[in-house]
Each structure stands twice: as structure tokens, then as C-alpha cells.
Amino acid sequence: MSSLAHYPGVVMPTVEEEIWRYSRIEELSLDTYVAGSVVNYVDAPSDVASIVTQGAAVGECGVAMPIPVDAFAEINAIHCSGAHADIITVKTERGKSYASPVVITRTLSISGVLAAPRLIIDAAENSEVTVVEHFLSSDDISSLIAPVVEIRAAQSARVTYIAINELGNKTWKIAHQQSLGERDSTTRLFTVALGGDYARVRTEARLVGIGATTQQVALYFADKTQMHDFRTLQTHIAPRTSSDLLFKGAVQDTAKSVYTGLIRIEHEAHGSQAYQTNRNLTLSHGAWAESVPNLEIETNDVKCSHASTVGPIDDEQRFYLESRGIHPDIAERLVVLGFFNEVLERLPQIDVVSGLRAKVAAKLHAGAQ
């Protein structure tokens, strides 16, 4: 192991490390990329325009992730203080609810670059805001994006963050989502992953204030040779905190997915509850999905549950629909879209979300087997 020429001090992980097990990290050669940027487009209607700042603001970095958690978070931190700094901050006013979402579109438009944009959502006491971060590239773009979103929800603040990955099938993504929930706050982290070649998200919700609540919800659907890789952490630090995680994914063709989730309830977090559900559909014989749920509980008086499944479409469900005269291919589509509906119905009903069901349907090819 040696540190990287472009990024002194940064040591690339290997699959020997448990958290990178199953990943495709060893295919990655950072030397093939030069530091670069995404093209940002921020859609912030008048009621939210004043809370969005682009550029500079390095001092804001670290509100939820003071110390980078791994090599890619370190690379992002290095970018933040260099020539390719790309920081967008959304900072709400105390007590204010914003009706319009802030929609940030990040487009990778050239090949061979490593872009590491950062988004900081800093929600003041009792404020409410929704932020969408939409990642795009076309299929011919062979680049790497290592974005970080930091979310801090102050007392009683309510933050909804939605990441949508519609990257092209040659683009790599290694992302971090880190939230910090203070007393009685609500943080909701949604991820919809349809794109990318290898797309990994590490998402951690830290509940540091009494009574804080978090939801982590994801829909992921990989086809052809794509791989989606999720590491989730529900970290309960304060008492009477609650977390609810629902991750649902499908793989078709020879695609792969990995889900590894940890519920961690620390010593002081008594009276907490934590739920974790991961369900995976394998739609083709050559497709592969792995699900590894974990619990680490250091106190008593907690409620926890986790459930995980990996398997093909349920025969009984398919037969039920077929017995109504529906062709098996259509029955299968209905079952898969229904499977994802549970996630889509939880998402805020805003414009950028409303087209997702059709995109999932378009990706699902008839007669996948």
C-alpha cells in the first residue's frame, strides 16, 4: 500500500478490509483520472434561492463529518480546499419551512476526471427543507465522482435529502452521505440508484440528540454489468432515538448488488428503536445480490429488528396475476414495479421524483429471466 501521487497521504482501500469486501475497488486506478469538476445547475425557486450558496465556504465543511471516514471522503476534503473546490451549501433560517425543494443537478460532462463535489445542508432549529441532488452523465463518459453530502439538523429541524443516480454506464461513483440529527430532529435520506458502472454509497445517520428520528430509504436497480454497493449505518448515540431503514433493490442480466447494514446502538442510547429491512430481487440467473445485516447493541431497553431477503420473483405472486389472464412477462413487470412502489410511495411527491417510476419500468426488460 502506498499513498497516491495526486493525493498525498491518501491510502487506497483493498477488498481485504471488511467494509470493501465484495466491492470492485481493485479495478479502480486513480492515476487514470485527473482532478476535475461537474457542471452544476441549481434550481432554487424564489422562496429557497436565498438559502443556497455556491462556491467557497470551506469553513462550512465538517458540520456532520468532521473527520473523513475513508479514502474517498479524504479525497473530497482535499478537493474542497483546492482548485477544484465545489461546495454548495443550503443553510436554512431558524423556524422557517421551505415549500419548494432545492434541486441540484450535477453533470459529469468529460471523461477521465475525478470530481468530488460537496453538498452541505445545515438546517437551523425548527426549520424544514427538501434538497435533491441529481447525478447525471451520458453513457460515453468514463469518469469518477466522489461526492459527499453532510447534513446537520439542529433541534426539531426536518431535512429531506434525495440523491438520484442517473449516471452513464461507464461512470463510477463512490459517495458518502452523513447526517447528524440533534434533539427531536427528523432526517430523511433517500437514494434512487439506476445508473453508474460501479456505484457505491456509504450512508450514515447519526442520532446525537434525544428523540431524534431518521429514515434511510433506497431503491436500486442494476442491469447489464452494473454494480450497486451500499454500506448503511444507523448510529444511535442519544437516548430515545429512532431509525427506520428500507432498502429495496433488483439486479438483472449479470448485474450485482451488495447491501451491508449496521445498526449501532451506543451505551447511552437507551429507549431507542431501530428497524432495518433490505429486500433484493434477482431477475436473471446470472445476476447476483448479497445482503449482510448487522446489529451492535451496547445497552438494554431497545427495540430492534432487521430483515433481509435475496431471491427471484415469488412464484405465488406471479401465479396470482397470471391466473387473472395476465401474460407472464407483464405479471413479472407488475410484481417488480410493485416491489419498488413501496419505496417510490415514500418519496416526497415532487417533479423530479414523479418520472422515476417510468424510468424504472423502462429499465425492466420484458421476459427477463
Binding site: E322, R324, F339
Partner: protein
């Protein structure tokens, strides 16, 4: 008029023969009841006729107006006019009744433009709350609500023949009456032929059969009029199957 004909049907699950030669002819507008004790082969019969995976047919035939149903996959049997109300309707999360019926209509080349209104009208007929109709298929529904949901689908799809596999299991008395009366009405209005599979006679008080068959050990051991069901209530299966 249509005819569903089961002839010398021998079938079961891999390694176990359960039906030992069933013969039955059902015409449009008729209601036939199949009654029998647990383990007689009642659910196997409905599964085999509808084409549920997991069953093996050794010999015999099932035809609908001469069309060999056993040669068709389940979805084509349904399109040929056969419908199954399941004893334990399957939960299909995230899939709604209107999605299913819309696809089922489309597969039959039927116009779907008035479907929403048809669903509302049919739900009202069987006192099925629209809030429940809008839930995911059979998810978080009580036993009675599931059977109302099944009956609603039957009413909308208007098949030629319906097999009711223990429609009465898990049903409260109000739901039983609503479902049975709707099926009875379909025999009049749409000339539906019905094969009612049941363990108990109480369903047959609402849905009067023309013919009652007693199934025991995979064979029809006795057939008769509605009085056979009444007789069964007093004697029990032991008296009739010996």
C-alpha cells in the same frame, strides 16, 4: 352455452397421487358444489384445473368448450374463461387492484376507459370500502376483505366459469353473504358457471347449488341435489363416504 368438462382426471404432487379419476361436467349458469373432508383433494382439484405450478397430471382431461385446458399455461386458461378464487389469496405488495384489472382487460382486448367507474360500482355492490380497494393487493386485508377483493375481481372480469376454493374460509357472516350473493347474481346476469369447493354447508345456504358432489380420497363418491348438503350437515362425512 359453455361447458367445463373434467374427465377421468388423475393428478397430484410429485411422488403422491391425490386425485384418482374425477369426472364432472359443469354448464353455464349452473352451480356445482364439491364438498369433502380435509385431505380429500379439494384444493388439488382447483390448483390442477387452473394450472397452478407444483401439480402433476397423470391422465385425464379438462376442457372448456372442447379446448384442452391442461395444454395451456394458467394465463391462457384464464383468457379462455376460467377464474379461480383462491382459498388464501396471495399478497402482492405495491400492486393495486386497478393495475391488475387494467392489464387483465388489456390482455383480453377489452376497453379500459370506464374501468375506474366499474370498480367503484362493483365495490359498492359487495360493500367493499374503496379505501381498501386502493391498498396493495391483499396486503393488510382481513380474511373477509380478501374474499371481497377476490369477488370484486370475479365480477369485473366476467369469466365463463369460476372455481371458488373455500370462499367461506376465514369469512365473517356479512362478507360471506355479500360474496355469495354477488356470485349467485353472476350466474343469472352473466350465465356464470360455478364450482364451489367447500368444507361446510353454510356457504350453500347463500349460494344454492344445482348439484352437490362429495369428494373423498380423490374420487367423487356421491352426487345429488342440494339436499345432499343438508344430509351432510346431519350425518357428517363419515356417514356419506363409507
Amino acid at each position: 352455452m359453455s361447458t367445463l368438462k373434467i374427465e377421468n382426471l388423475v393428478a397430484g404432487i410429485p411422488g403422491k397421487q391425490i386425485l384418482n379419476g374425477i369426472n364432472l361436467t359443469l354448464n353455464s349458469g349452473e352451480v356445482h358444489a364439491i364438498m369433502g373432508p380435509n385431505g380429500a383433494g379439494k384444493s388439488t382439484l382447483s390448483g390442477v384445473v387452473m394450472g397452478k405450478p407444483g401439480y402433476v397430471v397423470h391422465s385425464g382431461s379438462v376442457t372448456l368448450d372442447g379446448v384442452d385446458l391442461l395444454a395451456l399455461p394458467a394465463w391462457e386458461r384464464a383468457q379462455a374463461g376460467l377464474h379461480l378464487i383462491m382459498q388464501y389469496p396471495t399478497e402482492v405488495p405495491g400492486v393495486h387492484l386497478d393495475d391488475v384489472i387494467r392489464e387483465a382487460y388489456a390482455s383480453r382486448g377489452r376497453n379500459t376507459s370506464t374501468l375506474d367507474a366499474e370498480i367503484v360500482a362493483e365495490a359498492a355492490r359487495i360493500h367493499f370500502d374503496m379505501a381498501l380497494v386502493e391498498r396493495s393487493m391483499n396486503v393488510d386485508l382481513s380474511g373477509g376483505e380478501k374474499k371481497r377483493n377476490e369477488t370484486l375481481q370475479l365480477a369485473l372480469l366476467k369469466p365463463k366459469f369460476a372455481i371458488l376454493d373455500e370462499l367461506d374460509s376465514g369469512l365473517d357472516i356479512d362478507a360471506l353473504r355479500d360474496c355469495a350473493r354477488r356470485v349467485e347474481a353472476a350466474t343469472q346476469e352473466d350465465n356464470l358457471g360455478v364450482l364451489v369447493i367447500t368444507h361446510y354447508a353454510r356457504l350453500l345456504e347463500e349460494l344454492r347449488p344445482d348439484v352437490v358432489h362429495i369428494l373423498a380420497a380423490g374420487k367423487i363418491v356421491k352426487s345429488g341435489g342440494p339436499e345432499l348438503a343438508d344430509e351432510l350437515e346431519t350425518t357428517g362425512y363419515a356417514g356419506l363416504t363409507q
